[in-house]
Symmetry: C2
């Protein structure tokens, strides 16, 4: 079923009025009066609607039902990644949103190859990728994409979550599965992963001192754009959001 986020929609007296880009989209999809569509408020609630009229710039639909969005996971996962090179960011955002992440944060770490002077300029495009992926995969929110700046700030953001995990590929670590099994009821989880070259040992030390779980995902070396997707999927599995 066609799915829209509420941007450009007004709810009035049991009706949803869609304008702008989304109204155009309804036309492109050739939806006809009597057909159903879902309008999501981007805060976890779906409005099931039936199309009444579709004009070029104004679409009206009757609200049939209001339900919690079934695609929205019960756990809020914040993915924090050392900024990778090139368009790996795009892939990472799209796949993490599909996998169920609620928030994606990029930061600079010691071994980042990409060191953009104005990463803020990319935020608009990154946010659009997140919105498209959220719409396509049936999410109930539009996960935010943001820029933390330095590694220390990423640690700070992670530290505000209930369960905080730093994924590291060497040295003494806990198993990711054991940590997740022991924290199945956590409502918010931070997952920190590194850039192409991984983390420097002092960064892992710092994460440990701050109180994060330094975890292993096994002996396979995952690319920097793959690790966050695998880690997010592990959280979804452990918290019953993959059934």
């Amino acid at each position: 079923m066609a799915r829209f986020f509420i941007a450009g929609t007004n709810f009035k007296g049991g009706m949803a009025i869609i304008r702008g880009r989304d109204a155009e989209h309804v036309r492109v999809l050739r939806l006809r009066p009597g057909e159903d569509l879902t309008i999501c408020d981007a805060q976890g609630t779906d409005y099931k609607c039936r199309l009444v009229s579709a004009e070029p710039d104004r679409v009206e639909a009757e609200i049939i039902d209001v339900v919690p969005c079934p695609g929205e996971p019960s756990v809020a996962v914040t993915v924090l990644c050392g900024l990778p090179k090139g368009d790996k960011t795009d892939y990472l955002i799209q796949k993490c949103v599909e996998a169920g992440a609620s928030e994606i944060v990029f930061f600079l770490s010691d071994r980042c190859v990409a060191k953009p002077e104005t990463p803020e300029k990319k935020l608009e495009r990154w946010q659009r990728i997140a919105e498209e992926a959220a719409k396509q995969s049936g999410r109930g929110i539009i996960p935010s994409v943001s820029w933390a700046g330095e590694f220390a700030e990423a640690l700070n953001i992670a530290n505000r979550k209930e369960l905080k995990i730093f994924l590291y590929e060497t040295g003494e670590r806990e198993g990711l599965d054991a940590v997740l099994e022991a924290n199945k009821t956590a409502e918010s989880v931070a997952l920190i992963t590194g850039p192409e070259g991984g983390f420097a040992p002092f960064e892992a030390d710092l994460a440990r001192i701050v109180g994060l779980h330094v975890c292993s995902m096994g002996e396979r070396i995952l690319r920097c754009e793959t690790a966050p997707v695998v880690a997010t999927t592990a959280v979804m599995y452990a918290t019953g959001n993959l059934s």
Copy 2:
């Protein structure tokens, strides 16, 4: 540590002799005598070696230790995918190999958009992507990529595995997590996923009749190139290969 598969390597009296492309690769990496490298036999065993000499076309290394490859999962996952369009195949192969799949099989199903006349021609490139990903991620085998032809043959291949799972996004299904929890000791698992447009209902019916578990991964709609990666990760998590 630099890592090679055995192709082009001979083991003789405690020494490994590397020739051809891999010998060239040792030179490109500027490895020097005394440095360590790992040569994997592509059957799950790693030979830890120390470089003795590196000539343009012939590299000699002393075998220091022989160990089971730590990156090789304990479960053999066969990923069977309805052929997706364009370079989604490449992505799918690379990420499934990283995630731990042992075998990737493409097939034609009712809603495949891509209907190549000679998919066999692509196998060589696909296999090279699998080999690169296996080398990079520290796998102990080179997962094979193959072409099954029709959907019925994919079902046939799946049916020879201990646990057979058909991932489907609608109708009556078991939770993937429940099925995996009940089959943690399976040594071989088949995961069937669909092309861009998903499976036709008659294909799901057939899978059910043949005795496959028809499973859900939750209400998020995963892209055809994402679903196999998420499903493979779920199997790795459930079988203790993500710790």
